[in-house]
Amino acid sequence: MKNSTYAACVAASALMFATPALADATADGIAKYREALAEGNPAELWEMRGEELWKEARGPKKATLEKCDLGQGPGVVKGAFVTLPRHFADTNRVQDLESRLLTCMETLQGIPADEVAKTPFGKGEQKNIEALVAWISAESRGMKFNLPMAHPEEKRMYEIGKRAFNYRGGTHDFGCVTCHGEDGKRIRLQDLPNLTKGPDAARGFGSWPAYRVSSGELWSMQRRLNDCFRQQRFPYPVYGSDVTIALSSYLGVTANGTGESIAPAIKR
């Protein structure tokens, strides 16, 4: 249940970013709150279920996911999370963890990817995806981000992600960059990582999937991005669409070598 890296990191940042106008007591209080939560993260309930699901014969083909290739070879889970998104030769596509899982579920288990993608978050097969990403990410806890960039498609998705990150629109003229483009900012009391550089990018990107205490649910990166776009007053990003994968590529590559994954973390 130890997640002291996270607690220490959040505590440090909360104090470091405290503006002179902000009473230190507030930042200190919030840091203590987060520290207390780091112990006993309910994400572990999803991790347990995820490990079982990986090994459970399911779907029309009654097969497990144990032959799923997350980029490190069939069945290799450890270390996979910190190299995603990456290019996969079999689909000839850059895929994040969730879209890759859809591929595996469809090819190995016969569960139609399109239907899973259309399922609302927290329901049906999406619930299973949430458990799987919790376990898979936990298997890379403490490892540094190391996304490959050798393939031209990986470079292309990174470049598209950078542009999507800076794209401002909607009724409020917001883009990802509005909240995540500067050091030491907060929205209400939440620290905002500057996702345009490490190690903040690793701290932000490397926290998801995470248990959201506000909803009591496990949120995948897809869901995190979905809700960012909602709050930006943007239209609905299609699950597993290229904009979501490109953004993850941009964030992950920016995080490369600068910090470790603490996912699944616990967030307000």
Binding site: K32, L37, E51, R188, V213, S214
Partner: protein, 156 residues
Amino acid sequence: MNTQRREVLKSGSAAGLFGLLVAAGLITTQQAQAAGWDKPAFEAKAMDEALKALGAGKPADSKDVQISGPDIAENGAVVPVGVKSALADTEFIAILIEKNPSMLAASFTLPAGTMADVSTRVKMGQTSNVFALVKAGGSFYMVSKEIKVTLGGCGG
């Protein structure tokens, strides 16, 4: 990961959890009879009412009881609260939240040999005093701490 035996007790018994525990020989019938969810205490809307339901009367203050929790909670849905008592023979601990619709959040009965040191997480609708009620050596004691609940960003 520790291996866990994951068995759901067969439902269908009207006896409830404690009946099952008796059947399994885990607790005595006497223990089971003393137990049962304390509905009047959990549904009490005011402090006096809750204390009365718990048989606590007017508890005394005590330096030997500690309530721990954050000064500020980022989210009222999950507020970590811990209670420790250094009083001899602490047998019962309860956590009460003044401004919740029902004040009593949780109670713990501690058999001999169990430390008076429990932690859990509670919901708070707003900034409020949180009370730790302790029964030790037959008497009740109570301490409190204010926990502020703040609003979140991005449209709440």
